[in-house]
Assembly symmetry: C2
Homo-oligomer: 262 residues x 2
């Protein structure tokens, strides 16, 4: 099977133009089929603040109300087009999409339970139209994905970019040997959050359980890792977590944190 890299970029790498440029330059020369999924960094929060729209929190969970959805849609879609323009200039033919385009990431609005999350979407992984993705990849086109989806009624929905990355990775794992990479400003999963040199090079399920019970792994990292192990159980070959500015090394060597089932 052909190798496919699905790379999710997040954290402050998105906000700082110089850093984003370094990443995109290295990303553009990856000589395999590739998909880029990005977040919105601090830009959506900044714009909301400027417009006087306060973040809505219920029980510590962020709620996407209509005003926030509108901001997020604009900011993420705008970043999406900036990234595509830069990739084109670097010679990497790319197309900027969200989940609504060609319905490439079908989703549904999260059901209201103890919390009403508002306009938040959950990916319907089994409905991802694999051929739309392969059609682009086989033409050497790189999809650049903004984390917005829509439900079948045409309602746009704020959707977690990590989840999009792992859902698309799983859906495409029957067609490609998929490497899923989560990259951001840290060098990997750290044993000590204050020490960038404390990268844990390899995490297997057993060690992961131990780390979790010992509280070694930071809370923010746990959904990402749970997600990743789940993705590997469903066919994704490799998951790597590391520094976006070293994307070239994450792919070719043992930089960052590598996850393994065995």
């Amino acid at each position: 099977m052909k190798e496919l890299f699905i790379i999710k970029i997040g954290g402050n790498v998105i906000d700082v133009m110089d850093k984003l440029s370094v990443f995109l330059k290295k990303f553009s020369v990856i000589n395999s089929p590739k998909i880029l999924i990005h977040g919105g960094g601090k830009l959506a929060t900044d714009l909301s603040t400027k417009l006087g729209i306060e973040a809505k929190l219920v029980d510590g969970k962020r709620i996407t109300d209509a005003a926030t959805l509108q901001i997020i849609t604009m900011v993420y879609s705008g970043i999406n087009k900036s990234i595509v323009a830069k990739l084109q200039a670097l010679g990497a033919n790319s197309i900027g999409i969200c989940g609504a385009d060609l319905n490439m990431i079908p989703a549904k609005k999260r059901a209201v339970g103890a919390i009403d999350y508002g306009f938040v979407g959950d990916v319907l992984m089994e409905k991802i139209p694999v051929t739309h993705w392969t059609d682009l990849l086989e033409k050497n086109i790189c999809p650049v994905v903004a984390p917005i989806t829509a439900d079948s009624s045409g309602q746009l929905l704020n959707t977690n970019a990590d989840t999009i990355a792992s859902s698309v990775a799983q859906a495409l794992s029957k067609t490609y040997k998929v490497t899923l990479i989560y990259c951001f400003e840290k060098n990997g999963v750290l044993q000590n959050p204050d020490d960038e040199q404390s990268v844990i090079p390899l995490i297997q399920p057993e060690i992961y359980s131990t780390f979790k019970s010992q509280g070694v792994i930071s809370k923010g990292m746990i959904p990402k890792l749970d997600n990743s192990f789940e993705a590997m159980k469903n066919g994704v070959s490799k998951v790597i977590i590391g520094n976006a500015l070293q994307i070239d090394k994450l792919i070719t060597s043992k930089e960052g944190t590598h996850l393994s089932l065995a």
Copy 2:
């Protein structure tokens, strides 16, 4: 040759959700290859005002500075994704693009002459990659186009939506029998701007010259008409100007203003 409808929607139809929904419903059932190009209506201006970014004018011409470009990119791209989500829900498979995506509308920054327009793009019509457009259209996919382009250095550029429509129409006129439709909130080109019933049903070059010299045609309409006659000289079959809410009738009957070379 197969018929292709290239429809540019502008004016306040974009701003008012009810009107946009009526338009999209009628647009979605057009049973021929079709392309939708939209503007940003008042939304970009509204957001700029809220953020305290003043419109920059030089000699009465609007200038796109960096802050304005950022607003425009976000607003137009956001509208673009909303339209795509609604079309999907209506069963019209669509993909939202700007000129940078697959480099589908190559452009260059307008040269600084008497006025520096800032980040404004002029379409490089002869470089439009026709096969990227036909690939989508032949798969029954409707491209939905936001009026943003990029130059070869990856700089995003604000670009006139009317010009994009007529450039794409000309580029595709060797492959399709192209009908170019400009629609907005008016019923057509009006003989008396205050009388919606004064639609001029047919405009030919000679009458157009007479109307222009008599000042019958409003100044805002002249670039659109100049552009349209130019497009017809370059192979576009028909140009129709009329009310977006009657898009069904513009296509099938003699509503609106029809332009003709002879």
